[in-house]
Amino acid sequence: MTEVKQLVQDLADQYGRNQESLLPILQGIVNREQHISEDAMIEVARELNISAAQVYGTATFYSFLNTKPLGKYVIRVCKTITCMMHGKNQIIKELETVLKVNLGETTHDGKFTLLETNCLGQCHKGPAMLINDKPYTELTPDKVREIIMMYRDKELRVN
């Protein structure tokens, strides 16, 4: 059995095989694989006995359900008004420099993807960003560099 097939089966065992378990299953795939491949969508459709088109429709609707491969750490910088007022552009510039990518791109080693997103609900502590699930607030260019260093160190230790 392929890895993705196994993953989908495990998730279906955990969340159930009905319409209501579709979103949790898709979220589970993203947590593990960082994105939902076409193979995974077909597998989910088979497992829940619904059409692959429906899985595709749902998967492409939500901004956190990526259908294209992304890095291991997805950085989402809030671009909504108060974060913009408090300097999110400098934060993005700094991230582009440190990661050597443009907004929307993934680093060559596949570790980081830099994206923008809508309001993170951290408006009183802007600028803010998420790295995967974890929020970082009151960012400055210095702080951003330290955070990326921390993640890089973590990666080095893992390898």
Binding site: Q19, L22, S63, F64, L65, I81, C123, H124, G126
Partner: protein
């Protein structure tokens, strides 16, 4: 002379943990009594729409069905709002208490907290609180369970019917109304869906009584409200204040001394310029008169260094991305409004084109399917009308 500040309240975030007493006390009362308490307290939905909470619970309790649901809407996506996150991280047990009482009244066995994907970091601690809460429910012999359902980054899912669709595994596209959720909600069953803050308020009402709550605020806008203050302010954060304050007072307390406009209610709310601060009151009634503004609690302050064109551009950008794309007025309208103000700014269209755009926004207000598309006109028209020269030059 000392400046008189707005009264800060401490109801919602008050550190009190007497859930067991409150549930025991309320369960001794009849459902009718409880619903009447809620109705007479004057509590209205704190998500911004302001539907009377007691009436919502009453309607759901009157429906005949084998299963019913209570859902806590924690898909807080409105720009400038972060109160629900604060409530769920500091006093989640109050929200759960409100859900349990509602469950008893309407006869629901299952409840959900629909938590926005951006707040997934709250989930572990919430699960702990829910686990403890379930033990208490067992002790009190209430057959009710709460689950967390995670969103995945879609503003529109804060719209209640889009939220149901999302929970049912579909695209978050709003449904036609009627039928309303109290008749056909999640899985087409009678469903009560309340904002996080609304549920937390019911805790105070059941604890201190309806009258105490009603004493706060002004006519038709009873009780206190949690405001999320951000933008050009030296003290951004969460504040619990009484309804009925004038915007002038608010700005004196929270502004940086140079406030030129306040956006009340987030991107889908209204922009109030300095000259109208003293004529604007925060509350539910009379929103069409433009003097009294309802709000989900988002208060963004802009000082004179800010370009209101940039503010509007940012809001429209937001709507273009977050429109679900289901109905044409919203899908096409948001894009055309954005292209339109860009064209005027670049001089490709005359300034009179702004009038046309406002007509388009008004057309969206009457033809869009849900609140998102309808409320784009709120911020669009109020910014363009009050800051026309900034749109052109």
């Amino acid at each position: 002379m000392k400046k008189k500040h707005l009264q800060r309240l401490d109801l919602i975030f008050k550190n009190e943990h007497d859930i067991e007493d409150i549930l025991t006390k309320t369960f001794k009362k009849s459902n009718e009594e409880l619903v009447n308490d809620l109705i007479s307290s004057g509590l209205k939905g704190r998500g911004g729409a302001g539907f009377p909470t007691g009436l919502k619970w009453k309607l759901a309790s009157e429906e005949e069905s084998d299963s019913k649901y209570i859902i806590c809407n924690a898909d807080e996506g409105e720009p400038g709002t972060f109160k629900d996150r604060e409530i769920l991280s500091r006093v989640p047990h109050k929200v759960l208490t409100g859900m349990a009482v509602c469950a008893r009244i309407i006869g629901a066995k299952k409840g959900f907290i629909y938590l926005r994907g951006e707040y997934v970091f709250l989930k572990p601690q919430l699960m702990e609180v829910i686990k403890e809460f379930h033990q208490l429910l067992d002790k009190l012999k209430l057959d009710f369970r709460v689950e967390i359902f995670l969103g995945s980054g879609a503003y529109i899912c804060g719209e209640e019917s889009a939220l149901f669709e999302s929970m049912e595994g579909k695209r978050g596209e709003p449904r036609n109304k009627p039928p309303f959720p109290t008749q056909h909600g999640y899985k087409s069953k009678p469903t009560v869906i309340n904002n996080v803050e609304t549920l937390a308020h019911t805790y105070s009402i059941f604890k201190y009584g309806a009258d105490k709550f009603k004493d706060l605020g002004v006519q038709d806008s009873r009780g206190s409200k949690v405001f999320s203050v951000s933008g050009d302010t030296p003290i951004p954060g969460i504040y619990e204040l009484e309804f009925g304050m004038s915007l002038q007072k608010f700005v004196e307390d929270f502004g940086d001394g140079d406030a030129k406009a306040v956006q009340v209610g987030g991107a889908s709310g209204f922009c109030v310029p300095r000259k109208k601060f003293d004529k604007t009151v925060i509350g539910y009634q009379g929103k069409l008169r433009g003097t009294s503004l309802p709000t989900g609690g988002s208060m963004m302050i802009f000082n004179s260094s800010r370009s209101m064109y940039n503010v509007l551009h940012n809001y429209l950008d937001f709507f273009v991305e977050e429109s679900c794309g289901q109905c044409t007025p919203c899908r096409v309208g948001t894009q055309q409004l954005l292209l339109g103000i860009e064209a005027v700014k670049k001089g490709e269209q005359p300034s009179s084109y702004l009038e046309k755009l406002m007509e388009l926004a008004e057309a969206m207000r009457i033809t869009a399917k849900c609140g998102l598309g309808q409320s784009v006109a709120n911020s669009f028209s109020s910014i363009v009308e009050n800051f026309k020269e900034e749109m052109i030059y």
